[in-house]
Amino acid sequence: MPEERRIRAPDAARDAEQDQEVLEDFKLVTDPSLAYMSLERQLSELLERVTEITGADTAAILLLDPERDVLVARAARGIEEEVREGVQVPLGRGFAGRIAAERRPIAIEDVGHADILNPILRRTGIRSLLGVPLVVEGRVIGVMHVGTLRGRKFEDEDVRLLQLVADRAGLAIDNAQLSEQRALTEVLQRTLLPEALPQIPGLRFSAKYLPAASGIKLGGDWFDVFELPDGRIAFVVGDVVGRGIAAASVMAEVRSAVRAYTMEGHDPVTVVRRLNDLLIAMGRRRSATLAFMALELETGELLAVSAGHLPAVIRTPSGETRFIGEATGPPLGVLPTANYTGETYTFPLGAALLLYTDGLVERRDEVIDDGLQRLAEAVAGAATQGGMSLADAVLARVRLDTSLEDDVALLAIESRPLSDQLALTLDAQPAVLSSLRRGIGRWLAAHGVAAEARFDVALAVSEASANAIEHAYGPADATFAVECRYSPERVAVTVSDTGTWRPQGKRERGRGMDIMQMLMDDVRIDRTDDGTRVLLTKRLGG
């Protein structure tokens, strides 16, 4: 029979003066000005005070990991190996586990006979233990306990004192934990969200990620834009259920997995199926919703796969909005047998597409249909004059519920309207070539140019651009310009760079020249001190 006493709740009527004294002494460690210290350091300072105040030999703080329902030793005094060895106690078990689960102080006069899980407590020769829960706003965030090497019968007064200190410490720990977690999550988010959206000729991207109003709630939302091996452009928006570091780290895994499966050459439907298998296999008790779209630039064919994600909004060139890409399967990680399918839509020139996470449309005390309706209206009316991006314009019109504790990610894709001119400034990197070719193909297709002529122009422009890229030694952020003009009689393209033309460069460049001349009707090269311009012309029709 464990030698243990149940302890009554602390008596409220006690010496206030003494309390004040204790708290004064304690202020130093819970002072917000110490917030620059790491949580570990604050806790160890705190424990030093605790042992002094209570006259104990050892002290420890274990914090609850709510994801796994375990208490993890975060700071210790006299029993430092607790932290070093990463002691973990399941909620509800052992000395600390029961304090947290039952949310009450527990004193043990003789450890020898008690249910102690942690071998370090025994090894250290601790005889008596007193522990109290760390409670903040009704949540148990951990346990603080003190121990003595000589047997000691803890009095109600000791309990009251330790609880007093624990209450004050709990607040400080909670704050420190929040800012620590927020800082970590923000770093994660910054690392994971694309720094710059890719340059795809004929498309304009804008995106936003907004952390939740209360900082700690950020975490699981992301978006991504990248090119598929077959040249299609992938748009991805996802939302991992849950908040904080745990959600953000699952998000990181899912986000990389999307790219990895895609890079292996799997089509979007297969990628989504594999992601589902992955999440289930990970056994992280995490689900995620995901919208995965792939746009064939030349034809405007848009494939949409949705794992429990809200539908995207498309705005047609005439200004009407509708929802596309309704969920074709449950969220990822829920159903091992889930079967996802793809739906095909058309994304015409002049249209706009918005992918987003639920934080954009959800409001307290409102059904989601109202939020979706509001979003559709916002997208319909969002004007993007004056340099405002579509993502910003939509956000401005939706008027987020700022009290909502959810983060928001949105990704807007605008297809530039049909025009006789196409002017592009591109990074001087070979990676831009594949989407350049398709962007030109899409533009020419919209003008009704036949497939063979589209191919010829796209490849010739690509050759001239490869030259421009090769010239662009020097600054890493060099760019080159492509200007295309269409008339029913001809397509004229100018590719200009600021480098010097090297006619006897690599021999494939000579071959590139041959190809340009074979594909186009006229090829002219203007070299000046400022750079090189290649003028390509192809006659159309007849």
């Binding site: 990197q429 690509s462 071959r511």
Partner: protein, 122 residues
């Protein structure tokens, strides 16, 4: 390497090239293919069925690969469907002077086995 798939068809390496072979990836693709064939393989097949755009860098890579294999008495075979736009480019640069071009993998495999060392009768 993105979109490049290597397979072995009864001792004949078959490399399926991605949709785009250009200045961004041609050199690496050439290296991967060159590393894939062994001395006892009579030839290598580069399958361009999925390839939509092949630029001069890609063409140069194929030429060099063909030359390199010829010095080892091996042969490079390209698979390009009749109607593929890539075929026009290969014609412009007279690729067929150096490398055999086939409409599908089956005929390419037949050609590789045919022009390899005679297989002992079993």
């Amino acid at each position: 390497l993105r979109g490049l798939e290597l397979e072995d068809s009864d001792g004949v390496p078959v490399a399926r090239l991605p949709a785009d072979v250009d200045a961004a990836n041609a050199e690496s693709i050439g290296e991967v293919i060159a590393a894939s064939f062994s001395h006892d393989s009579p030839g290598v097949i580069a399958d361009l069925t999925a390839t939509r755009y092949l630029d001069s860098t890609g063409i140069d890579m194929l030429f060099r690969l063909g030359e390199r294999m010829a010095t080892r008495r091996q042969s490079l075979h390209l698979v390009v469907p009749e109607e593929a736009p890539v075929r026009r480019i290969l014609e412009i640069v007279s690729m067929s002077d150096i490398v055999a071009i086939h409409p599908d993998v089956t005929s390419a495999l037949g050609a590789v086995r045919g022009d390899g060392a005679p297989t002992p009768a079993s």
